[in-house]
Amino acid sequence: MSGKDYTEMWKGLGLNLENHAGLLGVLSKTYKDIYLNQKNRPRAMDYFDFVISEVHGLRIEEILNAKKTGRKVVGAFCVYVPEEIVLAADGVCRCGCAGAEVGSDQAEKFIPRNTCALIKAFMGFKLSGLCPYVESTDLIVGETTCDGKKKAYESLNDITGKVYVMEIPHMKTAEDRKLWLSEVKRFRDRMEELSGKKITVEALKKAAGVVNAKRKALQRLSRLRAAAPAPISGLDALLVNQVSFYDDPLRFTEMTNRLCDELEERVARKNGMAEKGAPRILISGSPMAIPNWKLHAIVEGSGAVAVGEESCIGERNHRDLLDESFSSMDEAMDKLASRYLGIDCACFTPNNERFDNIKTLTKSLKADGVIHYALQFCTPYMMEAYRAEKAVAGTPFLRIETDYSMEDFGQLQTRVEAFLEQIKG
């Protein structure tokens, strides 16, 4: 995909070179078909195109260079893992590969066939030697959000020996909060041990500034999408959100703000990405890890525009800032625990905040319809779809269950088009 030859680096990480070349070839073609064929894209998307072209290249090289200077690399698959703690220990934090149907046959040696596509993918990527992120990590931080992940991490640890699991409570009582606070502290201690560096209040303050700045840039992007006509496609905005989990946070923030500057000009000139009158769709539900662009491609290919993602790769990741007004370690841990326990993941019961957030977003983004997206076998989101529909009663609502494969593309296209016909009346 990129100009530079990274063969030696990939070999050094133990990747399966032949299959990896095949994967990058498919990714490159898909990206061209879905992304580069869009009309009237913001110029500042150039940067994100570049990041994708170097997603297994330059970014990995940067991470390996950081490792050479003694920095530790932490991989995660969930927005509950407190990035501030990783950064405060001078670590590098990013997500592993989990967004494509890869190595399912390998994965099924460890997990059942009817496991959600995201879990199957992170197992498959690892087992088929196709994820340079997992190979370059010093620690993989798992979490107990759902049964599938919880159990898959046991096997992933058997395979890699690098997995550390944080216990996420499933309710939000005072007792749960206590448990979570102790989990945040335990993770801090683990990071100190891993890095050999003491995590100080100052370092946490600095990290909080960096991560909050990233969240603010993403919030700014979200708000700009509320404009009519929408200044950016849902595909592009989704990509920016996906890249936020991989890129260097400082550079990412700068580039996202640069994009937002351009979008502000577009909004002022009423220069929309979609055609006038295109239905505005809020997408809500399971996370869409890179390169899962399937639903957005169908929605926007059918003449609508996705204006928001009520998802971990989206609002759940950046809605809340960390309160930076702490002056002691205890206070810092307390505020971190509060910030992360506020996330409205479907693994919690009750989870009414999520339904309130869907309602608020539907209104603020002026959505004409909501598509609830659940990965097949992602039980928490599949179940919540029913209450989500009730929460926005009166707004057209389409419930979809799918995975990463393309075999239901035609059926989904029919459902989405019929949904848009229903909205247009």
Binding site: D403, Q411, R415
Partner: protein, 257 residues
């Protein structure tokens, strides 16, 4: 004349209308090149407009159709042509089952469609009839002769087929298994109907509505009248044609929708 072409997963249906009246229709297997097959079927027609629907609608648009609508909208329009006051439609085609709710003016209010899976579709019945050694055309008639004391419990076509095989090997009479297969399809339809809600009558369209057991068993399980247009499988093509006609009529008046 306006022609509607419904390029379905198993068959292609074309319907020609003039002034809101159905003047001709044809049904044929989809074959390998559905757009060529459609063109062959339309030979002799001189339409002012062609509207495509069905799984192959976008392919049709690339080759000959002026516009496309989805099967959902098409079946809604087609069903209303036969039954002007209907509010609920079940369409069971080759690979999809759809339940459509309309408002009093015929506008689509809501719809349900099966997720990626062939359970409860025409394709499922086709596989099961082959597995039992019936011709598809006799499958429904034979099923009606069966007793209904066994159940196919799996929702998955693949597992349901294993269930059928194990029933066969237990010596269960063929007609009883056939009936159980039909009941499992009806159960799926019913679940979707209950979820979306239904009014005074349900219109049953699509190829599966030609199957007497499907109609009969659905009627037994539901307390409202089941209405089946004749023929039931052209509702989509007809609806597409009618859409094309209203569009042509409306266009000079300045309506762009």
């Amino acid at each position: 004349m306006v022609v509607g072409a419904d390029l379905g997963s198993r068959t292609i249906k074309v319907a020609a209308v003039e002034g809101g009246r159905l003047v001709d229709f044809k049904i044929a297997e989809s074959g390998y090149d559905p757009h060529l097959q459609s063109l062959k079927m339309m030979k002799g027609y001189h339409p002012s407009r062609i509207i495509a629907t069905g799984y192959g609608r976008h392919l049709a648009k690339r080759h000959f159709a002026d516009d496309v609508i989805t099967e959902i909208k098409a079946h809604a329009l087609g069903a209303r042509h036969f039954f002007p006051h209907c509010r609920t439609i079940v369409d069971v085609g080759g690979q999809d089952t759809k339940v459509i709710a309309l408002d009093e003016r015929g506008k689509v209010l809501n719809f349900q469609m099966n997720d990626k899976c062939a359970a409860g579709t025409g394709r499922f019945l086709e596989i099961m009839s082959a597995s039992l050694g019936y011709a598809l055309s006799e499958f429904g008639f034979e099923a009606l002769k069966g007793k209904d004391d066994i159940r196919i419990s799996s929702m998955c076509t693949v597992f349901a087929e294993s269930e059928v095989i194990s029933l066969k090997n237990h010596g269960t009479p063929k007609a009883d298994i056939a009936k159980a297969v039909h009941i499992s399809v009806i159960e799926r339809m019913l679940a979707m109907l209950v979820r979306i809600g239904y009014g005074d009558a349900v219109v049953f369209t699509g190829g599966v509505a030609k199957n007497p057991a499907a109609v009969n068993l659905l009627q037994k399980r539901i307390d409202v009248e089941i209405l089946v247009p004749e023929p039931p499988d052209i509702a989509g093509a007809l609806g597409a044609a009618l859409y094309g006609e209203t569009e042509t009529v409306k266009a000079p008046a300045g309506c762009t929708d």
